[in-house]
Every structure is written in structure tokens, then in C-alpha cells.
Amino acid sequence: MTNAGTKDAIAPTQPVIPKTTVSVREIFLAFLAIGATSFGGVVPYLRDGLVTKRCWIDDKEFVEMLSISQSLPGLNATNMAILVGQKLHGRSGSFAGILGMCLPGAALMYVVGIFYHLHGDHTWTTAALKGVAAAAVGLILYTVVNLSQKALSHKFDFVFMAATVLTVNRLHWSVPRALLIVGALAILFHHPYRKPKTTAP
């Protein structure tokens, strides 16, 4: 098939990447690079590194894996490393992926922990940390707003959202209890046999 004369026939095969050829080492290095550079949220860096740069998965698969990552417990970053690694190279692929993803941040935070212990109570650090903490609250609020716009499918969802906040913060329910009770009610509310007017994806 790979005759010297059939150059034209080879060209169109360019986007097809044989999945078995991605080695564990390549997976580790790819996720190490993402784990070391993904400042301010991993998702755009994952997409860029896995879909755009390396073509290991396509956009549709990426979105699908991301939605699975979000439904399961665990962080998007590590769940994506597991799912993509699994797809590319099975168990060792998953292990290489999550190891690469976690290593840089973990090492960095380990050093931060030592420095905080040494210098955390200087006046300038405590002052700066107050600002950092306030900024982090703003960041979480943004994530709440952003996810609410994207992920909520019914007006009534805000009731479930408020119920979760109240049961955890006011009634001091444990998270598993809130998940089990409020979550079950919300899932039942969204049961598949309700009026089929929202068939559009």
C-alpha cells in the first residue's frame, strides 16, 4: 500500500491517528506539560493540548468526556486525565495521565507550604493573602454564574440549588446527605418521562 508512487493516496490519511501508537511516555509528557502550564483553569489547556495540538481525541469526544468528568466526583483535570489516558493506552495510560497532571502543581504547593510556614505571618504576606482570598471568592462566584447559565435546564433548578445551599450551610447536612436527598429529588424532577417538549439537545 505504501508504494512510492501513491503519494496522493497517503496525503488524505493525515487526520487519522492510529490510537495504539501513543506511548505511555508521550501521555505522561503531554499531561505533565498541561499540569505545569494550566494557570487559571485546566479545560482550555486540555483542549489545546489534546485536541488541537496532538489530535489524540476530536472535539466531540472531548466535550463528551468533559461532561462525564463533570457528572462524576473528582476534579475535571484529573478525571479527564484518567478518561483520555484510558482511551489512549488503558490502565497505564490513565496512570501516566493523572501522574503528569498532578506532579507539577503538587510539587509547587509543597514548596508553597514550606514558605507559608516560614513567612506566612509577615505583615506584607498577611495583607496580600487577604486580597488573594477575596479574589478567590470572586472567582468561585463567577464559576457559579457561568455554570448556572450553561448547565441549568429548568427555572425550577434554582430551587434545588438554593435547597442544597440551605441544607449544607444552615442545616449543616453532610454533603453525601444533601447529594442523596436533594440530588434524588432533582433527578426525579428531571425524569425522562416528563412532557417531551425539551427534546432538542
Partner: protein
């Protein structure tokens, strides 16, 4: 005293609470690490969580700091494995099956139903944190400022946290 077995238990439990994001586990992380086991103070927990937002990779790496303070290098490694291990195994096992359940009608119900609950957990974590992080005009203004900036402009959140550090240093430095 060797803290590693307790660290492993606490963080493996917290691991499974991170539905929809690490912040979902924050209220119980506060109770377990601060109130029950006294590994650190509430302001310290808020500080390391917030500093962790400037680090690359998974945004809950601050758990390594808790492990390190409680049990040195071994403690740090223990929390890392305990916090990321259980959900990794779960993703490995369930991820595959979940994909094959695409036609199952309840799959969509579960996704749609869990969405508001996981956002609620995120908001609950945010309120827990705000109790320790927002105290007066300056901190409130920083939080709202960051929110508005992110809603208005496409800007890297890590940069805004750095900006928060600078504003904080300027506002809270004595004299």
C-alpha cells in the same frame, strides 16, 4: 505521632464529595481539618486554598500543604494519593460504562438533576469561604471586582488573583 492513617481516611472521604468541583468538599474540609483534627486554622485554610488558585494543574492541590503540615513529606504524599486516588478509580471504572449508557433515558435525568445540586454545593463552599475571607469594604470590593471583570472580559483568572494580592497588600499594610 503518625498522622498518615487519619489523613488518608479524611481525604479519601473528602475526595468522594467533590461532585462538580473541588469546592463542593470545602464545607466539610473546613470541619474535618480545622475543627476536628486541628491540622490548621480557618484563615490558613482559606489562604492556602486561595494561593492554590494561582498554581497550575488541578485546583485543589492545596491539600498537599495540609498533609505536609500534619505529617511531613509522607503526610503530603498520603493526602495526594487519598484525595485523587478514589475518584481516579471511580472515573476509570464508571467512565467507560457511562459512555455506553448514552441511550439510557435516565442518564440525561441524572446529568440535569445533578447540575443544580453541584452548583449549589459550589455556592455553599463559596459561602463557607466568604465567612472567613470577606470582612469589610475592601475585601468585598475585591471579590465583586473579580466577578465583574470575569463576566465582562476574557481574562485569565490566575492574573486576577495576583491582582487581588497586590490590592490586598496595598490596602492592608499597616500605616
Amino acid at each position: 505521632m503518625n498522622q498518615s492513617p487519619i489523613l488518608a481516611r479524611v481525604f479519601a472521604y473528602l475526595s468522594l464529595l467533590t461532585v462538580g468541583g473541588g469546592m463542593a468538599a470545602f464545607p466539610e474540609m473546613k470541619i474535618l481539618t480545622v475543627d476536628v483534627h486541628h491540622w490548621l486554622t480557618f484563615p490558613q485554610l482559606i489562604h492556602i486554598y486561595s494561593v492554590g488558585q494561582m498554581a497550575p494543574g488541578p485546583n485543589m492541590m492545596m491539600i498537599v500543604v495540609i498533609g505536609q503540615w500534619a505529617g511531613g513529606l509522607l503526610g503530603g504524599l498520603t493526602t495526594l494519593i487519598a484525595f485523587f486516588g478514589p475518584t481516579a478509580v471511580l472515573a476509570y471504572v464508571v467512565g467507560h460504562a457511562w459512555k455506553r449508557l448514552e441511550r439510557w433515558p435516565w442518564r440525561r435525568s441524572i446529568q440535569e438533576g445533578l447540575a443544580p445540586v453541584s452548583i449549589g454545593l459550589l455556592l455553599a463552599g463559596c459561602f463557607t469561604m466568604a465567612k472567613g475571607a470577606i470582612f469589610g469594604l475592601e475585601t468585598g470590593a475585591i471579590a465583586v471586582g473579580v466577578l465583574l471583570m470575569l463576566l465582562q472580559y476574557k481574562i485569565n483568572p490566575a492574573l486576577l488573583v495576583v491582582a487581588g494580592a497586590i490590592v490586598g497588600a496595598l490596602s492592608f499594610m499597616p500605616k
